[in-house]
């Protein structure tokens, strides 16, 4: 094991290593996604879709970094819009899902 080589590659930045780790995460994530929801009752198709939709608003985390001080003016404008859109997606998505699921819940009391 060549320690000097490892140290050199780490000093070189994380590019190569991240793409490998990232692709592993992607691979396992897709597999996990399929396994998690292979059997969904039709009752939940809409809430599952809208809940998953809200989760895809995670891109908000990236949008936050885009209004950083190092960004040029027009980059910040784009970043601001990205934050607004992603927040609508996240907040709206979770609230509307809860609203739908709330109806499924209330009917249990009725029956």
């Amino acid at each position: 094991m060549n320690y000097a080589l490892i140290a050199a590659s780490e000093a070189d930045g994380s590019n190569v290593r991240f793409i490998v780790i990232g692709l592993w995460v992607l691979l396992l994530g897709i597999f996990l996604g399929f396994e998690l929801i292979s059997k969904v009752p039709p009752t939940l198709h809409t809430p599952l879709m809208s809940g998953a939709n809200a989760i895809s608003g995670i891109t908000l985390v990236g949008a936050i970094a885009c209004v950083g001080a190092d960004y040029p003016g027009w980059g910040k404008v784009i970043g601001f819009l990205a934050i607004v859109f992603a927040t609508v997606n996240v907040v709206g998505g979770f609230v509307v899902t809860d609203r739908m699921l709330g109806m499924f819940g209330s009917k249990k009391k009725g029956s």
Binding site: L26, I83, G93
Partner: protein, 491 residues
């Protein structure tokens, strides 16, 4: 641009943030898992939203010194207020449109993050032709940093298609965009052209351009072409296929977030994006199966075109009245209700339940038959009936109820058409041949509540309306059901 490196540059908290992201990824997985079970779904949604809150909060805290506070806060507030208003004010019948709209905004955000990242590179590295940071440059694949370039163009491409595709889906679902509009945009030749153009621009904007200004030009062009492609892909798709399209666009928004994860070198985005992508794909496959069509068939075949010529109008249609149906209701021992999109349009879910309650109270066995693609969104009918407090024990899926129609006295079809069209079973040349349908004609009597004899979204004739045991009760679903309730109670 690595989010982790950006965090390290602010001093402290970068590693803590990674652990929070890890916890958030775990909560997303648990949340999605719980969302797929009826009893656990609500808590699953809560888990996912807590995870989202934690991930956003830790990002804000760690990056607070770098990001512009007022811009950040005002963006979050504006977005949250709009989201809250839309989510709480919009009536449940408009849920499909709303989900499509949110989905489009998610795609838009991924696209914009990628564009902003390009803006960042250009402003920091300003010198055209110089070696660029993080390998975002020509020939970067060999240098090992090509994933930035690839991820940026992928984010723009998928995000833009998701945005305009969802907006067109929104327009179609809300009736603002004519479903059968024909034009240059949306023709298959144009779509192929746009797709090829987008791929060329991906290559140019990601790898081939040799200065920052050409990179920018290529990426802006890519954005425009991909936006046009999103419109062109969804525009020709018929309304009956909307459940498939919405599921597919949902999958795309996940993939866009995933690509953004590679732009930011952030595993949380990749995990969340890939799970959402897989979830959307599973729903897409379920919807395709429910229509007995392949995904390529939905995307490339124009539905209903072939059948227009053979439509010869209806003969032998028996129209009925509220009094007559009330007589039938009075003697029925068993009844199955088949809801469709007309129920949603007329907001008749409460009236249906009123009728069902009355029938149950006098000893009639009442069930609901739910076709998987009834309505305009996966599970649309379930949501509507849940709003009217119909117990889900009374809702039956196609496979479990199709054998029961032959033992049923009365079937009431409320605003459904294509999902109970016998052509699917009998006529191999029909556009919907082979699609699983509800065999309502096996029942003693079928009453179809419908505004007119007009076609369903598949635009084909329904021989059910001419069947000997079928009665047509013309009218708005809500009013018709109200009349029935009044009449049957007067008997």
């Amino acid at each position: 641009m690595s989010l982790a490196l950006l965090m390290q540059s602010t001093g402290g908290g970068a590693e803590a943030a990674e652990y929070v992201y890890m916890a958030a990824a775990l909560l997303f997985v648990l949340g999605i898992k719980r969302l797929s079970g009826v009893r656990t779904a609500r808590s699953g949604n809560w888990l996912a939203s807590i995870a989202m809150f934690a991930a956003v909060a830790v990002t804000m805290i760690v990056l607070w010194d770098v990001v512009g506070g007022p811009i950040l806060i005002s963006g979050l507030v504006v977005g949250a207020v709009i989201g809250l208003l839309l989510a709480t004010r919009v009536p449940l019948t408009e849920m499909p449109e709303l989900v499509a709209l949110f989905n489009g905004l998610g795609g838009a955000s991924s696209m914009l993050v990628a564009l902003a990242t390009t803006a960042f590179y250009i402003s920091t590295m300003g010198d055209p032709g110089s070696a660029m940071i993080d390998g975002f440059s020509i020939g970067t694949v060999s240098a090992g940093g090509g994933h930035y370039a690839a991820a940026i163009v992928a984010s723009i491409f998928i995000g833009a298609v998701t945005l305009t595709g969802s907006l067109i889906a929104y327009g179609k679902l809300s009736g603002k965009v004519n479903s059968s509009r024909k034009g240059l945009l949306g023709s298959q030749a144009m779509n192929v052209l746009l797709l090829v153009g987008a791929l060329v621009l991906c290559w140019w904007g990601g790898f081939a351009a040799d200065s920052y200004s050409t990179i920018l030009t290529a990426q802006v062009l890519l954005t425009c072409v991909a936006l046009a492609l999103g419109i062109g892909l969804v525009l020709p798709i018929g309304g009956a296929d909307m459940p498939v399209v919405i599921s597919l666009l949902n999958s795309y928004s996940g993939l866009a977030a995933c690509a953004t994860g590679f732009v930011l070198e952030n595993n949380l985005l990749i995990v969340a994006g890939s799970i959402v992508g897989a979830a959307g794909l599973i729903l897409t496959m379920i919807m395709c199966k429910a229509m007995n069509r392949s995904l390529t068939n939905v995307i490339f075949a124009k539905f209903g075109e072939a059948s227009e010529k053979e439509d010869t109008g209806y003969t032998n249609v028996k129209s009925t009245s509220a009094e007559e149906v009330a007589q039938l209701l009075d003697v029925a021992q068993s009844m199955i209700i088949v809801p469709g999109y007309g129920l949603a349009v007329a907001q008749a879910q409460h009236k249906v339940r009123e009728l069902a309650d009355y029938m149950s109270s006098k000893g009639c066995d009442v069930k609901y038959a739910i076709h998987p693609v009834a309505g305009r969104m996966p599970g649309h009918m379930n949501v509507l009936l849940a709003e009217a407090d119909v117990p889900y024990e009374e809702l039956f899926e196609l496979d479990s109820i199709n054998g029961e129609f032959s033992n049923t006295d009365l079937v009431i079809v409320v605003g459904a058409n294509d999902v109970c069209n016998p052509c699917a079973n009998d006529d191999p040349t029909s556009p919907i041949a082979g699609m699983p349908v509800l065999n309502v004609w096996d029942a003693q009597t079928v009453v179809v509540i419908k505004r007119s004899l007009s076609h369903g979204y598949a635009a084909i004739k329904n021989p059910l309306f001419e069947a000997d045991n079928a009665l047509m009760f013309f009218g708005d679903a809500k009013q018709a059901l109200q009349d029935l309730v009044t009449e049957v109670q007067d008997l």
